[in-house]
């Protein structure tokens, strides 16, 4: 099993190498449950909500919603019991941080839960842990038992008279239960099929009661915010995305594993410096920044800071911070097969678009992979529009991006009809595929010497170019000259076509 301590640690994980930290005594010796004591005995629930809201903490389960704001949505009236659901159903491929937060820091998570329970005046928390996480689940169960025995949970939490109970439920293998309303259904002993929203869980959640669902990591940050204040928290990370997160790096890197780093750390820094880059002297082909539901970033886009405000500009998202690196030997169509199979297998079956659509997606890419596909299999209209139907935004995102990759991966050596975007003194910028442009150098325009670029091409003109090279940053070198030579060579062996050539 081995000890899974992040290679780079921060405030969340600094004690994760220390076995004592997993016990209540060891946790308390490092200041454990002091933040909860402070919150429960010196702060009003409203003050805690305000503090967490002011810190700007964003949920770390994928959607990035502001945690304190979510807490403030809970009704204040006492006619119904309020619940918390802690989402420990980590199952987004590429994500493995919550598992370590439970294995090595279960008390830290529980302390965050207790503070949240006080803030929302909740009477019970259900921790929903994915069924496969037997060991992390056992670590949480042990921590809960220790905390109960010490009076941290129960009828009078930390001796304050505030009652809160914690229940651990183990799931049973269903990706969809990580979706918050699917999780609520599963808690109720049903199939984990998501509910329609509204009503939102804060109105109608677990067992019909107001419920707030937060991720394991989100809760784990809370004690540090109480201890050090919102200003401290905001001093880490970016202006809009404060704090650290635990990035999980997997795939083709020298040092796969976990890295706790401030949000906004550049993706290329994580991949190349921290995780040691791609081994065997190979180059990167693409990186998925936050679990397989997030669109892939091609090489050349890896300079992005890992925070949603920046990733959105690249049409991707932080998700769970699960970074998957694929080197140049990776077949993107094969990768699509693996991913579409996953969505097909994990479709909860509730809505036709996803239940049927994910199956078709997988069939189509599988056929493409076997070399038996055709362009008609992707619904392309004359203007190039591709229609994708899905009720599941994640699956839709993936489908869109995969299709873009399949259709838009520029192949070196291939000839494209490109559009001249603008002229330069020494050549022209030509777009070969949507979003993919390259340099047509003046020396590559024609066989003869070219003095003025504008003598040969003008902006908006469609030209045939051959892709000579794509460097490791994804920049393309294009040639009209080579495209013309190829065309001439292809025509040369056969006699020049003439009207008298027999048709058959």
């Amino acid at each position: 099993m081995g000890l899974k301590v992040p290679f780079v640690t921060g405030y969340l994980t600094e004690h994760f190498g220390d076995d004592a930290f997993t016990t209540l005594a060891g946790y308390r010796a490092r200041g454990g449950y002091e933040a909860a004591r402070k919150a429960l005995s010196t702060m009003t629930p409203e003050a805690v909500v305000t503090l967490v809201k002011d810190s700007g903490l964003q949920g770390r389960g994928g959607a990035g919603f502001v945690t304190g704001l979510k807490w403030s949505f809970m009704p204040k009236t006492n006619d119904k019991p309020r619940y918390i659901a802690c989402n420990a159903d980590e199952s987004e491929p590429g994500s493995f941080k919550d598992r370590i937060l439970m294995e090595r820091g279960a008390h830290q998570m529980l302390e965050g839960i207790l503070i949240g329970a006080w803030a929302m005046q909740a009477e019970k928390t259900f921790i929903y842990c994915r069924g496969e996480y037997a060991f992390p689940g056992a670590c949480v169960r042990r921590a809960i038992d220790e905390a109960y025995a010490a009076g941290i949970f129960g009828p009078s939490c930390l001796g304050t008279g505030f009652r809160h109970d914690v229940v651990l439920m183990m799931g049973a293998g269903a990706y969809i239960c990580g979706e918050e309303t699917g999780l609520l259904e599963s808690l109720e002993g049903k199939k984990g099929q998501p509910r329609k929203k509204p009503p939102f869980p804060a109105q109608y959640g677990a067992f019909g009661m107001p419920t707030t669902v937060n991720n394991v990591e989100s809760f784990s940050h809370v004690r540090h915010i109480i201890n050090n204040g919102p200003a401290w928290f905001k001093s880490i990370g970016t202006e809009k995305s404060p704090g650290t997160t635990i990035f999980g790096v997997s795939g083709h890197v020298a040092r796969p594993g976990l890295y706790e780093l401030p949000l906004g750390t550049r993706l290329d820094e994580i991949v190349f410096q921290h995780a040691g880059g791609v081994p065997n002297g190979r180059k990167v082909k693409g990186v998925i920044p936050g679990g397989v539901s997030m669109p892939i970033l091609p090489v050349g886009q890896l300079d992005v800071p890992m925070a949603n405000e920046f990733l959105r500009d690249r049409k991707s998202m932080l998700g769970t911070g699960g970074i998957m690196v694929m080197d140049e030997t990776t077949c993107m169509v094969r990768a699509s097969c693996v991913i579409t199979w996953f969505f097909r297998d994990e479709s909860c079956g509730q809505c036709t678009q996803c239940r049927e659509g994910t199956g078709w997606l997988n069939k189509i890419v599988t056929r493409l992979e076997r070399g038996a596909g055709s362009m008609e299999e992707i619904d392309i209209q004359d203007d190039g529009t591709i229609t994708i139907a899905s009720v599941n935004a994640d699956a839709c995102n993936v489908a869109r991006k995969r299709i873009e990759d399949i259709t838009a991966e520029v192949e070196v050596g291939r000839i494209y009809e490109g559009t001249v975007l603008r002229l330069l003194d020494f050549g022209a910028i030509v777009q070969v595929l949507p979003g993919k442009d390259g340099l047509l150098h003046i020396s590559q325009i024609a066989k003869e010497r070219v003095n003025q670029v504008s003598d040969y091409v003008k902006e908006g003109q469609v030209v045939r170019v051959k892709v000579l090279e794509a460097d490791d940053k994804g920049r393309l070198r294009l040639s009209m000259k080579a495209a013309a030579e190829d065309a001439a060579a292809a025509a040369a062996p056969a006699p020049a076509p003439s009207e008298s050539t027999p048709a058959t």
């Binding site: 081995g2 491929p93 799931g171 002993g189 049903k190 991913i339």
Partner: protein
């Protein structure tokens, strides 16, 4: 009565934790499966009685979740993760190697009922790939030789 008194007592403890009885259904299925190895029709009937729901309500839950089984299983489950991060690091070869070693395909059980082999979607061990889950234990950073050794040691 097919569920033992001991398991039944544990089920009652679980049920008491939830505001509605049915909240205890997933924990109950885990407990029963631990005792029986799978959820047979008579077990499902008894669970339906315990929870005051229909047999079909129990069975739709059993068949929805990957970890509940409605047919007999081998004594051990060996599941290789084949999702993208593991695939990038050789999971497919690991699974094919184990298939050849055990003489069965993924999804099948050995003749002596010792092992049910399967592939699984992401198990949250992406940084330690390839990996396999043997019953409740993760084995990570594997190669085929190490995996064979682990599998051969299963009784």
């Amino acid at each position: 009565m097919v569920i033992s008194a001991e398991t039944r007592a544990k089920i009652d403890v679980e049920i008491a934790k939830y505001p509605q009885r049915r909240g205890g259904l997933l924990p109950a299925l885990h407990l029963v499966q631990k005792e029986k190895g799978w959820i047979a029709a008579d077990t499902a009937r008894e669970l339906a009685e315990i929870f005051g729901i229909k047999v079909v309500d129990v069975m739709e839950v059993v068949t929805f979740y990957n970890m509940f089984y409605d047919e007999p299983q081998g004594r051990h489950h060996v599941h290789v993760c084949t999702n993208l991060p593991c695939s990038l690091r050789g999971a497919r070869d690991l699974l094919r190697g184990l298939e050849a070693h055990l003489g069965i395909d993924a999804g099948e059980t050995t003749k002596d009922k010792r092992i049910t082999l399967g592939h699984e979607e992401c198990l949250g061990a992406c940084g330690y790939a390839p990996m396999m889950r043997v019953d409740e234990t993760y084995h990570e950073d594997l190669d085929l030789a190490a995996a064979k050794e682990i599998v051969d040691a299963l009784k």
